[in-house]
Amino acid sequence: MTRPVRLTGVAGAPGIAIGPVWRFDASNAVPQADASRQVPGQRPADAIEAAAAETARQLDALAGRLRDLGREEESAIFEAQSMMALDPGLVEEAIGRAGESGDPVDAVQAATAAAAELLAALDDETLAARAADVRDVGARICRVLRGEDLALPAVPSIAVCDDLPPSVTAEIPPGFLLGIALSGGSRTAHAVILARSLGIPAIVGIDGLIAAVDRRSGPSTSPVTIAMDGERGEVVVDPGSRVTMEYRGREADLTARRATAAGLRDRPAATADGERIHLVANIGTPDDAQRALAAGAEGVGLFRTEFLFMSRQTPPTETEQVDAYRRVLEAFGPERPVVIRLADIGGDKAIPYLRLAPEQNPFLGVRAIRLAYADSDLLLTQLRAIWRAGAAARVVPHVMAPMVATVADVELLVSLRDRARDTLVSKGLPVAERMVTGIMVEVPSAAFLAPELARRVDFFSIGTNDLTQYVLAADRGNAALAGLQDALHPAVLRAIAGIVAGADSAGIPVAVCGELAGDPAGALVLTGLGVDELSADAGSLDGVRAALARVTRAQLDALARAALDAFDAETVREMAAALLAPAR
């Protein structure tokens, strides 16, 4: 009997799973039992046509299966892919490249890669994303040409791999995927989003996972079993009966918590003694709006707009932006305010049309509002689009600027906001009646200047991720500094207390839109410190709402006082956890 090995990664999707490992890697193809499709001496043109037709047939079958399961959206993707496989231009291009004696696999790869590049180069994000679909089709045709099939799990399993592409996850029959454990990937990986929608756990960035699993598997041994807790980001290889019991207990606990939390969704978030806390969602694209509404979000505290500016060759037009903002404003309506964050872009992101100079230290460089001192066109266009979207949706839009560090930054923001409005009015275009204007407080200087800044804006929103990195001078991406990246560090909490005091002196509300707001322990400490609004990923709202409902204002005040006097984040976390621990 081998000893259990505990590994940790980044929590992606909550849930508990225990089951055999299904190892996937990019070359995870096995020769087909029936490889008769490969005819020796077949002309490349005939081989390509036959393989394309077979690929289209497989994709149609897949689309049909998904449609029968009510997964219409995914089904439509495979239907479009099936048409790509049979596309006359694409097939001709591949046949042309293969000639009389070329390798059909090379030809198909080259033809689909070229077609994908054409799509990727279009300045349209939706279409550019289809480039991946075309490459996927190419890979499928090549598999058919080589006479290979994907090796899919034969029993319900936990997928263990570096990353799991969408076409593979879709091939796995429903119920056969118990969880996803990735050594690579990020919290925003496609596989994680899929796991959330399927309600199965996902963990990303698990160091040592693949080595630990592969060390224990051999051709003659039965598959390795692993247990995973998607909420804690923990994986146990070879759990044995004791750990299995522990995980079954956590599963029962999670099921009970989920049922309680879901029952609170249609009620506004409040403490046990009835004090209301505004609980809103962070969203990254207009498509996230429905998920946020379904999770009971009372609005949007952070609508990131970077998606409009990334992966393209030219800046988004004003009209394109109006459409995107309007969709979200309309989805939430006048009762649920939406805070649109002005583009947070700078030297760490490749944005070809901005021609930004490379910087030694982009997080301390010319980014976000700082870009507008040299060239304000980008920001003015975005502000005009928001004025127009507000008018079209008949709501008062809220905006906030990231990376504000000085009073001058706020004055620039306000003047650009008014200039954008004046331009539209002079053209006779309809604009929103006003624009509620706030700033992100994430730079230490803004925390020190909170009283002065508060008098010039309508609200503050604290970005705890960046505030933590700047206050503790610890790079968010540097794994060696993990101990200095917890936003519950008392130094960060003291900065937050100062920001709240500054806001109170001017009578403006304070929101928090960083990860800390979505962490139940963090939500309690923040509410104790006097924060009025918590904004988190839709998937975190249930947990925060349930945590708030279990504590009183007096308990939160005491927690905040104790937290400010602590010396490290672990102590604060333990104090908050003690409040949440079930009474025994």
Binding site: D87, G89, T126, L127
Partner: protein, 94 residues
């Protein structure tokens, strides 16, 4: 030969799903059919090829020119024109 210009009105333009519907519909006709993104000044694309149609990058608000040449050209133009003005299977806003 018949040609007609029409404005793309559905929110996401002629990308994957709407493009699939458009190409499937175009493939029902024997006429040679092309779609040209006038707004972007692109060359005419084979309306029966999903790659070519997506490659025309037709987004909401763009004007596209439909051209059909063959025995059923009138019917092809009418049907495809209505398909685009009807939103290509997507709900139209506003």
């Amino acid at each position: 030969m018949r040609a007609e210009e029409v404005e793309v009105r559905n929110p996401s333009g002629i990308h994957a799903r709407p493009a699939a519907l458009f190409v499937k519909t175009a493939a029902r006709f024997v006429s040679t059919i092309s779609l040209e993104n006038v707004t972007k000044g692109k060359a005419p694309a084979n309306a029966k090829s999903i790659m070519a149609v997506m490659g025309s990058g037709a987004a909401r608000g763009h004007i596209v020119r439909l051209t059909a040449d063959g025995p059923d050209e009138d019917q092809a133009i009418t049907v495809l024109h209505d398909l685009i003005t009807g939103g290509l299977g997507e709900t139209l806003e506003g």
